[in-house]
């Protein structure tokens, strides 16, 4: 146990001293995950809203596929991404393998089903009077969409936080598509794996502590937002 305790002490020293390798990996993890979730939010909220309100052929199948996608292993996304982006792959000409943009695309694929499924659930479960009231007050389809998103904003915020937490802590995509290249594609998760393999436990623990801190922040935010606010009524 001593080496773990020493590792934690050394890790805290590295974090407090602003170790460039830790900060570099942390910053990269943050911007890659944020970009992936932002892109997935634009696409995912749109698809989720449409699935909640429109009915068309294959509608149920799409919902099932997106729900199934929520549990997809990151190594599978990494493998498919690698196959698509490698030189021999159909998207090889884009030269995105072993680049941060490649990881963003992979994490986009990870975040999209989460955001679509949770947005769909949030809007589909809205009180039917939301739709009826908006219709009877003359709201256009665009106004209605804004109303649905407004009424379900808490659940949609939770969806985004959940997607961010998943992207920030994932390893498979960053390792397989990013390649763990120092100062280019190295994220906190891949750096932790590498430092552990090298036997540099203090740095590995430092990276893990930052990951843990982010996970705690996200979980706390999700928990706080999940608590239903008591609706004060009087009269």
């Amino acid at each position: 146990m001593e080496f773990i305790w020493n590792g934690i002490v050394e890790a805290l020293k590295l974090i407090l001293a602003g170790d460039p390798q830790v900060l570099d990996a942390a910053w990269r993890s943050i911007w890659i995950s944020t970009t992936a979730v932002a892109l997935a939010a634009v696409v995912g909220i749109t698809i989720g809203s449409l699935l909640a309100r429109a009915n068309f052929r294959g509608h149920t199948l799409l919902i099932i596929l997106f729900r199934a996608g929520m549990g997809i292993p990151t190594v599978l996304i990494g493998l498919v991404g690698y196959a698509l982006l490698s030189r021999q792959g159909p998207l090889g000409m884009l030269e995105l393998l072993y680049t941060p943009v490649g990881i963003v695309l992979g994490e986009f694929a990870l975040a999209l089903p989460i955001i679509v499924s949770l947005t769909h659930a949030a809007i589909a479960n809205l009180d039917p009077r939301v739709h009826e009231t908006a219709i009877m007050l003359g709201a256009s389809p665009w106004q209605r969409l804004k109303t649905y998103l407004g009424e379900a904003r808490l659940a949609i915020t939770l969806a985004l936080l959940t997607a961010f937490a998943r992207c920030f802590t994932e390893l498979g995509i960053a390792m397989m598509i990013g390649g763990n290249i120092k100062s280019i594609t190295r994220t906190l998760a891949t750096a932790t794996t590498l430092e552990t393999a090298r036997g540099n436990l203090s740095r590995a623990v430092a990276m893990s502590l930052v990951l843990l801190l982010m996970a705690i922040v996200m979980t706390t935010l999700i928990s706080l937002l999940s608590v239903p606010r008591s609706q004060e009524k009087h009269g």
Partner: protein, 199 residues
């Protein structure tokens, strides 16, 4: 005079059981019309059909107005997240802000709820929410106003205020209410009695 609503042999069946039957019903423009009946007689269903919110029925319904000229207030109105002011101006958001704010203020004053303008709708009592919902619906000046139990949850002052406002309305109004309230508090031009024992 041309009827604004004409209903013939309307029947709503849910799970092989009729829940609303209207042999004939005609409503003239600018009239105030009451729908009364026992619990489960299909009053709300009838109102929803007239509003165009329910389409699964047999018989014929002719309404001379498009849905965007019909106002509908639920029995338990839904309040969008936000303040009373934001809710009341929901249907007229395309209007210039200064004109819109003046109209909202005027409407809130007529309902005697101007002091609630910046209060969150989630903090209002049932009676206050009902008045806000009615004000919100009237902002669009619908030619036909459908109100489900407008006097429920209201205290005496709320009933009096709502009756004064409804009494001054020039548009056709159809409301569901108990026979006692509808006769004692509001001058109506006609009423239709739905009877659950008829089916």
């Amino acid at each position: 005079m041309n009827s604004i609503i004409q209903i013939t042999d309307l029947q709503v069946i849910r799970g092989k059981k009729p829940i609303c039957q209207v042999p004939t019903l005609e409503i003239q423009p600018n009239h105030k019309f009451g729908i009364v009946g026992t619990n489960g007689s299909g009053k709300t269903t009838l109102l929803r059909i007239i509003a165009g919110l329910e389409h699964d029925f047999q018989g014929t319904l002719h309404c001379s107005l498009p849905q965007n000229q019909i106002g509908f207030v639920h029995q338990r109105p839904y309040m969008f997240k936000g303040t009373v002011h934001e809710n009341v101006c929901y249907g007229i958001r395309s209007m210039a802000a200064s004109d819109r704010d003046a109209l909202v203020q005027q409407m809130l004053e007529s309902f005697k709820i101007q002091h609630l303008a910046h209060r969150s709708c989630q903090q209002l009592s049932g009676g206050e929410q009902r008045r806000v919902a009615l004000a919100r619906s009237l902002m669009r000046q619908p030619k036909l106003l459908l109100i489900d139990e407008p006097f429920a949850d209201l205290d005496d002052e709320g009933i009096a205020t709502t009756c004064t406002i409804l009494g001054n309305l020039t548009q056709t109004t159809i409301l569901i209410s108990s026979p006692t309230t509808i006769h004692s508090a509001l001058a109506i031009n006609g009423e239709f009695v739905l009877d659950s024992n008829a089916f």
